[in-house]
């Protein structure tokens, strides 16, 4: 029995039995509208700005974007769900709504614990060394100082930023974009999250790092977490997720086993 478990861990992910399925994220007819402040556009003269202030009309260069239009699905413990769709289909917006960073206009998003969003743009402090960023990032995730000290070498090691010399003690602004993305992923992945939302972060590393991070994502799932992965690289969705949701123009076009959804998606994009 023990042998069997160990083996199955190596080969594929052991899925929890169907009766044990516990929802971790419930999205109920969610609509997300966000407002974009465009810089200079339209009548941007001081006089026009003053008139708007006096008449209390809203600025014309705030535009509303209805990015997610009524999405409903339920995610369970131990699932890895891929989110695919063409550019501007609302994938990243949906992730931010699940993370609680964007309010839903209508409908509701329920989550277990606090989902963590891991994106490429999640900058830490660029003036500080990588090591210091790891400490800060871990503390910001709520780790204790002792825990951070224990994890620090492991995180640096995992990120692989020290492969070409001692980069961990250099300021992060000296890093290449791939290196800082790798470090950010390593920090976020150091903690066990109930719900982890990954936005394109796996795509940035080189092949070796991608392998490592995919293995880490699998590990996070086995420890009863739920992982969402937004990616344009269909291969990494295929390798990590067994369920995929296809968003198009803010609505779910398809939700099902990765193989089927990807097949339909590929047919859709090549047919365009």
């Amino acid at each position: 029995m023990v042998d069997h478990l160990a083996m199955s861990n190596d080969v594929t992910v052991t899925l929890p039995r169907i009766q044990d399925r516990i929802p971790t994220v419930v999205v109920d007819d969610a609509h997300v509208v966000y407002r974009v402040h465009k810089g200079a556009a339209g009548s941007h003269s001081p006089v026009a700005a003053l008139r708007r202030l006096v008449t209390r009309t809203s600025t014309p260069n705030v535009r509303e974007v209805h990015a997610v239009r009524g999405v409903t699905f339920t995610a369970y413990r131990g699932e890895a769900i891929g989110l695919i769709g063409t550019n501007g289909s609302g994938k990243s917006t949906l992730l931010r709504a699940i993370a609680g960073l964007l309010p839903v206009e209508r409908g509701a998003v329920y989550t277990e614990g606090q989902p963590s969003l891991l994106g490429v743009n999640a900058a830490l402090l660029n003036d500080l060394s990588g090591e210091r960023n790891v400490t800060l990032g871990c503390l910001a995730m709520g780790m204790s100082p002792a825990e951070v000290q224990r994890q620090l070498p492991e995180i640096i090691e995992f990120s692989g930023i020290n492969q070409r010399g001692d980069f961990a003690s250099l300021p992060m602004r000296t890093y290449s974009s791939g290196m800082s993305a790798r470090l950010r992923f390593s920090i976020a992945a150091a903690k066990q999250h109930d719900v982890l939302l990954i936005d394109e972060a796996l795509a940035t590393g080189d092949k070796r790092f991608r392998k490592r991070s995919e293995a880490r994502v699998r590990q996070l799932r086995e420890n009863a977490g739920t992982v969402f992965l937004v990616s344009h690289q269909l291969s990494s969705v295929r390798d990590t997720c067994e369920r995929t949701i296809w968003l198009e123009s803010g609505v779910i076009k398809m939700d099902g086993p990765t193989d089927e959804v990807l097949k339909a998606y590929e047919a859709f994009t090549s047919g365009k």
């Binding site: 998003v109 999640a122 900058a123």
Partner: protein, 299 residues
């Protein structure tokens, strides 16, 4: 493997009830005040680490490094002494104008920089806020701590100046500690207030320098506070007397200087006003910031 989707044991249940049955929470809800305060306490290590990191980063591009922590206030004091002491002759027969000026300048600067950076505490850290979940009050609090550390550097300079200019060391010096602590609480509240304001009204950053300049002139930093009583009508002087910055500055001056002009004659009353401001601003600022917690980082 085909069972991964759509085979839902809870099927038929509306999503809201499903969520309630498994104890899921609405995403992005504001925690209660008690929970929030406990969270903030658990993040105290993050707050101090972030404050230290910011302090280190602020000098990381300068060759003299942390020495600027002392050099900046020193050069500031020199410039203002040159203009207000020597050129404009504002000392008006005061015993120790240099120490009078520097005390006011450093105490005011503590609040001024906290407020300036506080307006950008949220808007300047959107990356961090959108990436990680932590109580957002950590950011303005960290700014207050960083500025407090800067103040300690300034205090070394101030005490050196006070000693060089021949002031005696007295027991009154001990008053400086509670005075600065009260001011720190006041600053924390004020920094949280402007952090929330600055998160929504991005124009605040442009307006702030003018507000702060006016406030500085109303706090008797650069000239004798006697000028207020001489030139302002009675009601205006009364307002200036309750100006928190004037109060904190006067407390520092009373503590360090033997003989200094004061606007508030009664020392106990000055202390009461200082404590009052610190409580009102500290608690009020915290409550105000907490009420906006779920909005930060949304744009």
């Amino acid at each position: 493997m085909a069972n991964t989707t759509l085979a839902d044991p809870d099927s038929g249940l509306p999503p809201a009830q499903l969520a309630a049955r498994h104890g899921l929470r609405m995403a992005g809800q504001r925690p209660s005040l008690g929970t929030y305060s406990r969270q903030l306490w658990r993040y105290r290590h993050f707050i101090t680490a972030y404050a230290n990191a910011k302090l280190a980063a602020s000098f990381s591009n300068a060759r003299l490094g942390q020495l600027w922590q002392v050099l900046t206030p020193l050069s500031n004091a020199a410039v203002y002494y040159l203009i207000f002491g020597l050129v404009l002759q504002q000392s008006r027969g005061m015993d120790n104008f240099i120490a009078y000026l520097t005390a006011g300048l450093f105490i005011f600067n503590f609040t001024q920089t906290s407020v300036q950076q506080g307006t950008q505490a949220i808007s300047g850290n959107l990356g961090l806020i959108r990436a990680l979940h932590f109580p957002r009050a950590s950011l303005p609090l960290a700014i207050t701590i960083t500025q407090f550390q800067q103040l300690l550097g300034s205090m070394v300079v101030l005490i050196a100046i006070v000693l060089i200019t021949g002031e005696p060391i007295t027991l009154m010096w001990l008053m400086l500690v509670p005075a600065v602590l009260l001011q720190t609480v006041f600053n924390a509240g004020l920094t949280m207030t402007v952090a929330r304001l600055g998160a929504k009204a991005t124009d605040l950053k442009q307006v702030m320098p003018f507000i702060l300049r006016t406030w500085m002139y109303g706090s008797g930093v650069l000239y004798s506070v006697e000028l207020f009583a001489e030139n302002l009508p009675g009601w205006a002087t009364a307002i200036v007397q309750f100006n928190p910055m004037l109060v904190y500055i006067e407390l520092a001056r009373v503590a360090l200087l033997e003989n200094t002009p004061l606007l508030n004659d009664s020392l106990p009353l000055t202390w009461l006003v200082a404590i009052g401001w610190s409580l009102v601003m500290g608690l009020g600022g915290y409550l105000y910031f907490w009420r906006g917690e779920q909005e930060y980082g949304r744009g």
